[in-house]
């Protein structure tokens, strides 16, 4: 039996280590399409997280009852049910947001993040761990979408969440709120994330090397 990782780790790995957007490169369509403004990104991410949490828990609960041949179909029906709930709630409570997100709320059903977590995690772990994993991945998705939405809204419209942050003299970059801006922003963000990761990896390797050299020096000293 392999060692169980802590509950905190189960949650926090979704934030950065396996961040759905930056690391797993899953769920690209909503990430690109709805992040015209920060509020749209947040709404989309919350709806996705809702579906992710409940479908992960349910799938994990019934994981031993479903024959493996029909598991994907079963998962999809479960996910579709929760997506329908999310869609109807949004239509009733936030009609404007629902209109702005268009077909992307029903399209949560084919968001690979959800089926990916169901297949890779919830089908093998107990409901509590699945809940934490879903929460972590959902939060990671939320961070990515909020960041994307904020950057695009700030540069394309001078505002974040509707609050004006840049002065009137700043000429809005119209491209940022057009489709092309979405691709370019995400590409640059992923590239920057990679640069940061590479640096971190390099410094880790460096610290290991310096430790090795140190221990070698002390060893040789003791020998002498």
């Amino acid at each position: 039996m392999k060692k169980q990782i802590s509950y905190w780790k189960e949650f926090s790995k979704g934030l950065w280590e396996i961040n759905p957007t930056f690391k797993q490169v899953l769920g690209m369509c909503p990430t690109l399409a709805v992040t015209v403004s920060a509020i749209n990104g947040v709404a989309m991410a919350l709806a996705t997280t809702f579906v992710l949490i409940f479908s992960s828990m349910l799938i994990s609960t019934i994981r031993k009852l479903v024959p493996s041949q029909v598991r994907i179909a079963a998962y999809i029906v479960i996910i579709a049910t929760f997506v329908t709930i999310a869609d109807f709630v949004m239509k009733a409570k936030f009609p404007e947001l629902s209109k702005a997100l268009g077909p992307f709320v029903p399209l949560i059903v084919v968001n690979c993040v959800i089926l990916g977590r169901a297949e890779a995690f919830a089908s093998k772990n107990n409901p509590l761990r699945s809940l934490l994993d879903a929460l972590g991945n959902g939060t990671g998705f939320l961070i990515a979408l909020t960041l994307m939405g904020s950057i695009r809204e700030l540069l394309g419209n001078r505002t974040i969440f509707g609050y004006q942050l840049l002065p009137e003299s700043f000429q809005p970059l119209l491209i940022m709120i057009l489709p092309a801006g979405a691709f370019i922003t995400l590409g640059l963000m992923m590239g920057l994330a990679n640069i940061y990761m590479n640096k971190k990896k390099k410094s880790e390797i460096d610290s290991v090397i310096s430790k090795y050299k140190e221990s070698k020096a002390t060893f040789e000293e003791s020998k002498a």
């Binding site: 369509c29 690979c112 370019i184």
Partner: protein, 190 residues
């Protein structure tokens, strides 16, 4: 004329990949070689047209008359999944060469959001039967076009000196951004 406008609008002006962001996963995942992206595009177009027909019948002849609109999402996804499976079996039986060139892409298509997006959009926009078919054709053509253009660029990109951190997905996304910019030129056409 109306049908032609729907076709061109779906294929070029509101290109599924570059302006509606549907089907980004295969767009990034499969667009490595021109030949495979052409096969993928053709398989997708094929499924799109069939999906347009079936989901139109399902939505306007079954779900709406019997007031079952709340079943839209689960029923669409189930119908599409079983449809893709069925198409795969038929192709396998009828023609081996076509199966060999399209077969491996068919399972991937089930989770392609462009297909479900197509079904949802045509129900949202209240298209008629023929309009739906042309919408599916146009969407497929646009998807194929975007995929093949992207594959062409990426084949050249292999030789380019891309900074280490930007290799893979980041540079592909930036390239797609430039491509989307070019497609914006069609915006005033219709």
């Amino acid at each position: 004329m109306e049908l032609l406008i729907i076709f061109i609008s779906a294929a070029i002006v509101n290109n599924f990949v570059l302006s509606l962001f549907l089907g980004i996963c295969p767009f990034i995942g499969v667009s490595n070689k021109i030949s495979s992206s052409l096969s993928m595009g053709m398989a997708t177009t094929f499924v799109m047209v069939i999906t347009a027909v079936v989901s139109w019948i399902l939505y306007f002849k079954i779900l709406l008359p019997y007031n079952l609109k709340f079943l839209q999402i689960p029923s669409f996804i189930l119908v599409i999944a079983s449809l893709v499976q069925f198409v795969e079996m038929v192709i396998k039986k009828v023609s081996q060469p076509i199966y060999r060139s399209l077969g491996i892409f068919l399972p991937l298509i089930t989770t392609n959001c462009a297909i479900l997006g197509l079904a949802l959009l045509l129900s949202m926009r209240n298209y008629s039967f023929w309009e739906s078919i042309f919408f599916g054709l146009g969407a497929g053509a646009g998807f194929t076009m975007a995929l093949v253009i992207m594959a062409g660029i990426r084949e050249e990109l292999e030789m380019a000196d891309v900074p280490e951190a930007f290799k893979g997905a980041p540079i592909t996304l930036i390239t797609a951004g430039l491509l989307a910019l070019a497609f914006m030129g069609f915006a005033g056409m219709i």
